[in-house]
Symmetry: C2
Subunit: 361 residues, 2 copies
């Protein structure tokens, strides 16, 4: 068992608590606070992370004792049922495994999944281990194709030989091994329909790259996968989104992190990722004005909010893009490029942008 083995780390933490008890002290857990007042945007590393504030949880404090128990119980289940068996369990499954009546009482240890979820997040900050290292999974989402051969649980998978479908990305991507990477960059897109267009056009073959998509949100699994390819294989990551505030936000989460997952930024953010989605300049250049979709009040409000975030407010280029969007009074979807021809995106738009390095930072 190596020094960094999660089982060893959990065991050492448990032993510390046992020691407190043996010494006659009330057991206590200390960990960085995760509330908004302790989430900072670090201008040096350009990531959202936790600040210096610490809190403690004491078993003999009535307001803390149930949460204390929940954290201990979840840690025990994770060590015994997951880490020792090598198995992984979904957040919902961990909830059902934790849900039992405290012996001699009528009190349930957890009544609601948010309680076990919180206990798992606590464990992340207490131990410095990610939820994935603790073998707890969440949403499985997304597909990948391209010039990459990987090993997944003993199987060697060539992502260049997976047809129109592709490789279905598992919820935990920490355990994948990249065996051979011929690609020069990774293109990540929020929309699976664009992925299918580019894959059908063999864009990854012609342009020597890897295509990754989610079907919805960018999960932790996909963010970690992109980060690992960026760091371990030193490949640029380009993010392809709609020209709207939600696209800008999706991009910013991949680059800088998010408030909800600030404690996990180190294992998720990719500071050198670039935005290759539609811009206000593209709207003019590619004659997309007739495809502008009118901004709603909600869009305007969200744009005001996002533009004021620490990680956007000093970024001149993005401020310019938000201003252009406001002037147009509209947003443009990436699919609007189909109006220029079904393969315009793969034959003209993307190769041109990449050749001219027309990215936003």
């Amino acid at each position: 068992m190596s020094r960094n083995d999660p089982k060893r780390i959990l065991k050492a933490w448990g032993e510390k608590i046992v020691e407190q008890i043996k010494k006659g002290k009330g057991p206590e857990i200390n960990f960085p606070l995760r509330n908004l007042s302790n989430i900072v945007f670090d201008k040096k590393t350009k990531t959202l992370k936790l600040g210096d504030k610490y809190g403690s949880r004491n078993f003999f404090n009535v307001a803390h004792s149930k949460k204390f128990l929940q954290t201990i119980e979840v840690a025990s289940i994770i060590k015994r049922e997951l880490l020792e068996s090598g198995k992984h369990e979904h957040l919902r499954g961990v909830f059902y495994m934790t849900k039992r009546t405290i012996p001699g009482t009528k009190v349930n240890l957890v009544d609601d999944q948010t309680e076990s979820d919180k206990a798992i997040e606590d464990l992340e900050v207490i131990t410095g281990l990610s939820r994935e290292q603790l073998h707890v999974s969440a949403n499985k989402m997304g597909s990948m194709v391209g010039k990459l051969i990987l090993e997944d649980n003993g199987d060697i998978i060539d992502c260049a030989r997976l047809g129109r479908g592709g490789y279905s990305i598992p919820s935990i991507t920490d355990e994948l091994n990249f065996k051979k990477v011929e690609a020069e960059y990774v293109l990540y897109m929020e929309k699976a329909s664009i992925f299918e267009r580019l894959n059908e056009d063999k864009f990854w073959q012609k342009n020597n790259c890897i295509l990754v998509t989610s079907q919805g949100q960018t999960t932790r699994g996909i963010r970690r996968l992109l980060q690992r390819i960026s760091e371990e294989k030193n490949l640029p990551i380009y993010v392809l989104c709609d020209y709207d505030v939600y696209g800008a936000y999706i991009y910013s989460v991949i680059k800088y992190g998010s408030i909800a997952l600030a404690h996990a930024s180190e294992r998720l953010t990719i500071p050198n990722v670039k935005y290759i989605g539609i811009t206000g300049d593209d709207v003019e250049k590619y004659d997309l004005k007739k495809h502008l979709i009118k901004l709603t009040d909600k869009d305007h409000a969200r744009m005001k909010q996002v533009a004021a975030y620490d990680w956007f407010k000093d970024n001149k280029e993005w401020q310019r893009q938000f201003k252009l969007m406001k002037n147009f009074g509209g947003k443009v979807e990436i699919q609007a490029l189909s109006a220029r021809g079904i393969s315009f995106i793969s034959e003209t738009y993307l190769p041109e942008k990449i050749r001219k390095k027309e990215f936003l930072d």
Copy 2:
């Protein structure tokens, strides 16, 4: 070009309209109505399908002429841009390809995607070709692993060698070829987290089967894939859902079809599919009472509605299940089985149910 070639069918249909014009007749299209009054549950084939009512659309009827034009334009785009190039396009992309101003006017041919979507559905009933045969795709979703080797766009894919991730199911599954199927049955589950559990436990290897999941709704692509495996490879399909009215409905759509897609039932429904999800009897047998989640008013209302559907109302076993659910006042999620042990579902629950053939029909 074979007689059944979609290009040929579209061309013949276009020629019929040209002929009408040459004869000096107002062009007219006839097709089965798709409104609720013409959707019937066929007790013999046990599928929802369209009845005998026909409607017509006349170019010289002001109320029809725009829809007439939309149908013709979409047909033309599909033939020229998709079928002739062999490419596929998403519903949203077809909308942008269709969206143009009618020359000499300020009128857009389509303003909203619902218009092009409807035109594509019209084309399905007019030509008897499925949307997939017309090369129009929708949501890409779902994963597959197990004892199946398939060919996807020239690549040979062994679904037994795809690690924890699996094969990412394309949005159109009509063009896949099943090269070698060793499996004895297919297990389809709505929840990707259960898929990951069963895949990690190598359930498909130990039980010689195929696992399929969606991440959300059962798309047309997944339904067609399951139907094709059922019909072409003669394998039983088992559907694993939560014990709630939504699980029952998911199952019924796969088996009998849905109102919205009644016109496509022939290519989607699987009359001999079986339900292997949690039942009211399982709640007692596997000690799941403490995991019952209280039914809401919405659940009760939906259950009343679903229980009264033609395809459920004469099904004694399902009526009994709905009654049990009402008596419990609660529903049970499949993940609740984790409370019995992380691999209880793969080592005990499923093998037992399959061995004893404890299915609902």
